[in-house]
Amino acid sequence: MTALVLEQALNGLQFGVMLFLLAAGLTLVFGIMNLVNLAHGSLYMVGAYLWVAGMQWTGSYLLGVLIALAGTLVVGMVVEVVALRTLYERDHLDQVLATFGLILFFNELIAILWGRSALYAALPGWLRGHIDLFGGAVYPVYRAAVIAVGLAVAGALWYVVARTRLGMLIRAGASNRTMVAALGVNIRLLYTIVFGFGAALAGLAGLMAGPIYAVQPGMGELILIQVFVVIVIGGIGSIRGAFLGALIVGMVDTMGRAFLKPMLGTVVSPTVADAAGPAIASMLIYLLMAVVLAVRPEGLLPARGS
Amino acid sequence: MAEALLEIRGLAKAFGALRATDGVDLDVREGETHAVIGPNGAGKTTLISQLSGNLLPDAGRIRFAGEDITTLPAPARSHKGLARSFQITSIYREFTALDNVALAVQAHAGHSFRFWRPARAERRLREPARAILEEVGLGARADVTAANLAHGEQRQLEIAMALASRPRLMLLDEPVAGMGIDESQRMIRFLAGLKGQRTIILVEHDMDAVFTLADRISVLVYGRIIASGTPEEIRANPEVRSAYLGEEAAG
């Protein structure tokens, strides 16, 4: 029993870490450029597809990863320069609609290039298999690796934002764009870099998701909405909030799906639990969001000055 | 002595390291026109915003007509009898001047959960609104879209909207800001006509307006009131002269 709980907890952590990567990118872009980017999920999708393509083309996992990361970075920056620059001055509604259009565009583009069915690519030998945990449990090497990479990136992100000049520019740009520009910083370049960085994070999440979740058109939006929940719970514009929110959402969703039905089964009849369990489990994170909104609308760890 | 209409005790508001309001004590008597002056950045608008309910203070208390309104939200304060005009013109640009004032009247004329009857057909709203526009001198411009009004006319509209709720206390934030000589003279004459009928707290840079209208003046510097008294007392106060009036006397 503990083995099962431990396994699900780790899965929750793994899911949370991926949500964090996406949430961090999205919240950075929103916090600094005041841009609502619904197409963030598309970048995640691009990352996954480029990894599959890269793997199939080169036969090497690491090259596939490299191609995915570099490719998503490039795609992100191109999209920023070509399509998103005009949107910075527009209101959020226009940004929502324009990026919604981008989603349709990207989903269809991917479908044209790779078809609509889910793609699979095999993991290299050194990422397959299980590792032993205490309590007799085993855990897939790959998922453990995802957790490790995600936490490492989270740490690196914190370091960059809190301790480096670039991070300082980012935080300054978030609170006063015109001032930063007046100081001689090339704001356009900063924006493109930040956006590219956010895209790379999304691409990383995408390529890590490849072996675990289905790689198909529309995969970005499924996870994007959960990323929204993370941001609302954590507090917008805040990386710490994104981290906390992502862990909470990851855990609640994973554990809920795994244990709600059996838990319900102890208090109500099996038939009711069978029907209600999955239904409620799928709604759990949204209900959690509603509770946070009711109690603390600005989120758990909102960015300072918001 | 009668209790003051407005009592402020120990009001404080900080933005990070900047103490915009740094322990303000002030009494304003009913019927008085009280001017708050001070150099730029002294925290005058911040003070007004805390009085109107647009900003919540970090510490201190505000009592209005004997009631503690420190944390009362802005709409509720309007219903208690406070009204405010904004330093940076804040009107409904796409509505006509008449619509603007009628909305302000509507807020105090029964409830607004009416879904069918056109608000523009309600005489109960339109007539008082027209009357107020006449009073402030905008009668002829009632049907002009607010965005098309001249700057000075928009400032007049601000005052009109504040009057619409028939407030006991008016908080006027630089009412003649950006107005030409003639317009400000007209506005000052108009505000002088309100003296005694209503209690007014006036934030102004225009010394002409201040010394014409004020019964008492408080001087705000770096979030603190350094002097408070009659216009003569303030004119004579050496601290005030050096901190503030010295600059103004030259300009």
Binding site: L104, F228, V232, S282, M283 | H79, Q106, M161
Partner: protein, 314 residues
Amino acid sequence: MRLPPRTIALCAALACLAAVPPLAALLDQPFYLDLFRRIMIFAIAAISLNLILGYGGMVSFGHAAYLGIGGYAVGILAFHGVHSGWLQWGLAIGGSALVAAAIGAVSIRTSGIYFIMITLAFTQMLYYLGISLEAYGGDDGMRLAARSDFSGLIDLADPWSFYYFVLAIMTAFIYITHRIVNSRFGMVIRAARSNEPRTRAIGFSPYPYRLAAFTIAGAMCGVAGALLVNHTVYLTPEFMHWTRSGEILFMVILGGMATSAGPVLGAVALLILEDLLTGWTQHWQLYLGLLLVLSVVFFRRGLAGLLPGSRDDG
């Protein structure tokens, strides 16, 4: 009485829509009757969204939820043998209103991007709920057992009757919305959108008004949902898919926000465009997506903004 150009255009549009069934019969193209009926149903959804978005400034990305609630209310009752249109539609309207009030209660305390994300999230929640309802078809959905029965007053199985029924409802909603936005209530909503600090300063607290508007809009869209399920004779969670919310949003923007004609024009334009594109290529979403981006970038005031007298509808 001189009517403004916009009203004339709207009346012309309504007249054209009224002429569709006989024209379709004349040309022996029943497809057009179907198409325009569908357009009008979505126009009703767009009209309801326009109330809160165009006039109220509330960017709800979750409006499709009420299409689902309306549709499922009718479908579930029909599944259980309750075919009375009165009961079904009563549940559709009441259920939508209730859910809108609940979602609105927590969402409206936020604004801007939060509000967008939250409304999107709640719709997704309902979508997942729909999928998990295995008894009612789950993922695949299910056929509508029978059309709503209005005790013989209207026969929804007759294409013409159903068509004019939808037209009547749409026209009624246009009129009702017109009355609402010019009433005291409507003025508060519009004022809150125009200048919220000023609105609070004069004594209005926007929250209760916005919540009421949100609820009304939800209920109106619930009617659209009930109509939609009767039209498609099929019930699926796709009614509530978030991309559908995006479509309705786009209809409102494309048509021109805060205008009476806007939602109708937007629905006509978008759905006809989709129809044309679908006929042309299976990759129509590529072009639609591109068009969306371009139209947002270049086309600020929507189709209704092209008509003379372009001002806030009053």
